[in-house]
């Protein structure tokens, strides 16, 4: 009797380990994450406008229908990325995601404080190679470090009313995401 209880108890303990390891392994195993969904639709290191979500379908669940969105699927393997995004009249934000959908940095137009949001995205290694003096002279140059080599930059522009959606789309159409070759 006691022996049977011990077997079950060890089963429950082992179950706890199984549970934790499956939860932790999920990001590696998932095939339907946002990056995987965008991969066939977006060329790498290019800003691409995303189709608006409709009742017939959307690329990702829970997209805010009041926003125009554009995405840059980046790969820093060939150098750092320069992002330039003109802000729309209402509200514009830029969010950076890792390959596994973790939002590691987000900034909005007011925090950026200019008519154009300008950012340099690089890996920690590329950041370390930026010459010191260049870092100082470009004091207003915003450098973001990406924890992963690949990931997503998502640009969102609000259409405060449905009639302003074309305006929001136009603002995003001028955004650029360009790779800067290593000097």
């Amino acid at each position: 009797m006691i022996r049977a209880l011990l077997w079950i108890l060890s089963g429950i303990l082992l179950g706890g380990i199984v549970h934790l390891s499956t939860v932790l392994a999920m990001p590696q195993a998932a095939r339907q994450d946002a990056y995987s969904r965008l991969e066939p639709l977006t060329p790498v290191n290019t800003m691409v406008p995303l189709p608006a979500p409709t009742a017939d379908g959307a690329i990702m669940p829970f997209m805010d229908p009041a926003f125009a969105q554009a995405v840059c699927r980046y790969d820093l393997g060939g150098g750092s990325i320069k992002l330039m995004a003109p802000v729309s009249q209402a509200y514009t934000s830029v969010t950076f995601y890792t390959r596994k959908s973790v939002a590691y940095y987000a900034i909005n137009d007011r925090a950026a404080g200019r008519r154009t949001i300008e950012l340099d995205l690089m890996t920690p290694e590329q950041h370390a190679e930026v010459p010191e003096d260049e870092d100082v002279t470009a004091a207003d140059r915003l450098i973001i470090e990406s924890p992963s080599t690949r990931g997503l930059i998502v640009l969102r522009a609000l259409a405060p009313e449905p009639g302003l959606m074309p305006m929001a789309r136009r603002a995003l159409a001028a955004a650029k995401c360009q790779i800067q070759a290593v000097q």
Partner: protein, 192 residues
């Protein structure tokens, strides 16, 4: 023989407990650090590098991209203030004030995060387009059939979800802002 039977029993229990717990936590949406105000719940840390393993597993499973912490906060509601499920055949009124934010949007989805088809192609309201009372408060009627004023159609689906997103807001950014918000109340007004 006994050893074989015993270890088989152990592995069976381990598989049921382990995989069952994973399935339950991922489908029910367990995440830590939630911020609940009335019927609304947000997980501000899910939009940052401090995201917990359960939320990480969940976003890669569903395929969504969470709202970044420097962008805004998304509050989800599945029931009204009294705990009644959001049945699309019933009428609910969302009214009151929102916490400080530059803009907000209120959107309606099915439980999987898809927009719901309706005759007027209305899926959300923004803080700019909403019709307000003279004191700045507002009321949105969430109902299957057309209503005067701010009408958010449910399409008559069995279960819907409301998401209130606050953009450029101090809510959730600082820790311990649990009592920070006058969030809108949600009340059921009967079912058809």
């Amino acid at each position: 023989m006994r050893l074989l039977l015993g270890s088989f029993c152990t592995f069976l229990v381990a598989a049921i407990v382990g995989l069952g717990a994973t399935w339950l936590t991922l489908t029910r949406g367990v995440a830590f650090g939630s911020l609940t105000i009335g019927a609304w719940t947000a997980w501000p840390k899910t939009g940052s590098v401090d995201i917990d393993p359960y939320a990480r597993a969940n976003i890669v499973r569903t395929g969504e991209l969470p709202t970044g912490m420097g962008d805004g906060v998304a509050f989800y509601a599945h029931t009204d203030d009294a705990g009644n499920n959001f049945d699309g055949r019933c009428t609910f009124v969302v009214s009151g004030m929102t916490p400080a934010a530059r803009y907000w949007t209120l959107a309606l989805y099915d439980p999987e995060g898809r927009l719901v088809a309706n005759t007027v192609d209305r899926h959300s309201f923004t803080s700019d387009e909403i019709v307000r009372n003279s004191d700045g408060s507002f009321a949105v009627t969430v109902a299957p059939l057309a209503r005067p004023g701010n009408w958010l159609p449910t399409g008559g689906i069995e279960q819907f979800v409301l998401v209130l997103r606050l953009y450029d807001t101090p809510i959730g950014v600082a820790t311990g802002t649990g009592k920070s918000g006058p969030m809108p109340s949600i009340v059921r007004k009967g079912c058809s």
